[in-house]
Symmetry: C2
Subunit: 299 residues, 2 copies
Amino acid sequence: MTQPSFDAWVKGVLARTEIALDAILPPADCAPTRLHDAMRYTVMGGGKRVRPMLCHAAGEALGAAPEQVDAAACALELIHVYSLVHDDMPAMDNDDMRRGKPTVHVQYDEATALLVGDALQSQAFIALGRPTLDAARQAALMRELAYASGSLGMAGGQAIDLESVGRALTRPELETMHRMKTGALLRAAVRMGALCGTVGGVLEADVDAALDAYARATGLAFQVVDDILDVTSDSATLGKTAGKDAAHDKPTYVSIMGLDASRKLAAQLRRDAHAALTPLGERGARLAQIADLIVERVN
Amino acid sequence: MTQPSFDAWVKGVLARTEIALDAILPPADCAPTRLHDAMRYTVMGGGKRVRPMLCHAAGEALGAAPEQVDAAACALELIHVYSLVHDDMPAMDNDDMRRGKPTVHVQYDEATALLVGDALQSQAFIALGRPTLDAARQAALMRELAYASGSLGMAGGQAIDLESVGRALTRPELETMHRMKTGALLRAAVRMGALCGTVGGVLEADVDAALDAYARATGLAFQVVDDILDVTSDSATLGKTAGKDAAHDKPTYVSIMGLDASRKLAAQLRRDAHAALTPLGERGARLAQIADLIVERVN
């Protein structure tokens, strides 16, 4: 059987993720309607869906059927979107635009934005409880997602980010922050996809190590490219406010290393990501293509 | 074997919940320290721990060992505390005092309060992933907790609460709001405790129905008493701002029915809760005592 081209594969993942998210979120006409409307406003029809892509690619690599990966892919995206909604609020980054439209607290109000984020986090775990996988894998997915989202993962990285505004971070400090803030969930995306293809929710050690090395390089590359785009792109292309790191005096790879060195670092991380996949052979092809996509993206 | 008195039993649950929460939360000296410090500040050493009590009592009724119930009891309390932290923020109730001390956004700052709530929700699911129960029960607990916390449970109830400020609610509307805002998590506390004592995370139909009727009556009684205390008690006794429902023009049982009728309703709900437990026989004794405690409490 011929494999679909990468473009076709990406389109397929985007389409099935949209359908799965629609099925997982309560209908907009279900009470409380304003909350459900706002949840759909921020989740549906936007975003690059990088985490669902990583999740499906890793699932495919381990032999999971796409139907077995949808719930995990949606759960990851719901956690990611909730973090954006809260991150954009006035108490945090105070951003007006996201994915090319007004942020939730602008379009609705602050209290709604707070509750939308809270409810989306719960919804992620509701998604994992869908009966497409056995309990062993559901429990393993819950552990991965909760840990990656919490104070030693994404939320902790946000806290470090807040503390670092206006401070000069060293590169290792910057890396720790990003490893938690965005890296933990990207790593979880890879691991959760792979877990969907296991028996009993346990990964073999060599696969585990290969995926971890891949996720580490890819996650860091994602952030380096984000920092590059923040200074080289414009708000219309990004769908969010460009130049905001500099405006907020936030340490970035570009501010620490300069633009040229950041570009070289991104290229090196892409090579690292490819090399990490060697033990997976042909099964790692989609993951390699996603690393390329992440480094070559323009928004 | 003689059963401990109810007072001794309550003290035992409070003590073991404190120890279990301490074990589940990351240490305060673990980075990010400000976040972990704030999480402990708001979780440890305060609160009535009603949800852990309900959870342990239901667990005991179904034959679970207390060690098998601790994780679920902590998870429920973590969800409850996160909701208080976010509810107290300026965008919501804008409250300065909680459990007798300054609220998190007052003691720390708004961004930290936002992240503390977010991280506590994740921590609840981290707690459920502890290896004291098999995967079947972990997955069942995740489903209960996520559903009770989300947009069709607690967060949804908060949204309806926000929309109802300054509006005249009918008593059925008020009940729907409370059934979601506080009732869903209290019901989850009973069900999750019971699930800890099952094989494979499945409750028998008659036990399920009895516990549901009990949880419904007890949850409503809890709210009616809350509304009574808001007008009859003072801030020092409550550990939070008294009279705030009237100040915020929020509909309550007292504002809709008057004080006397509210007291009669609480007494009736207590009788309903006791009656609901009949199928459980002696095993329901602790749950009946908790219904008494909830109706007789002074804060």
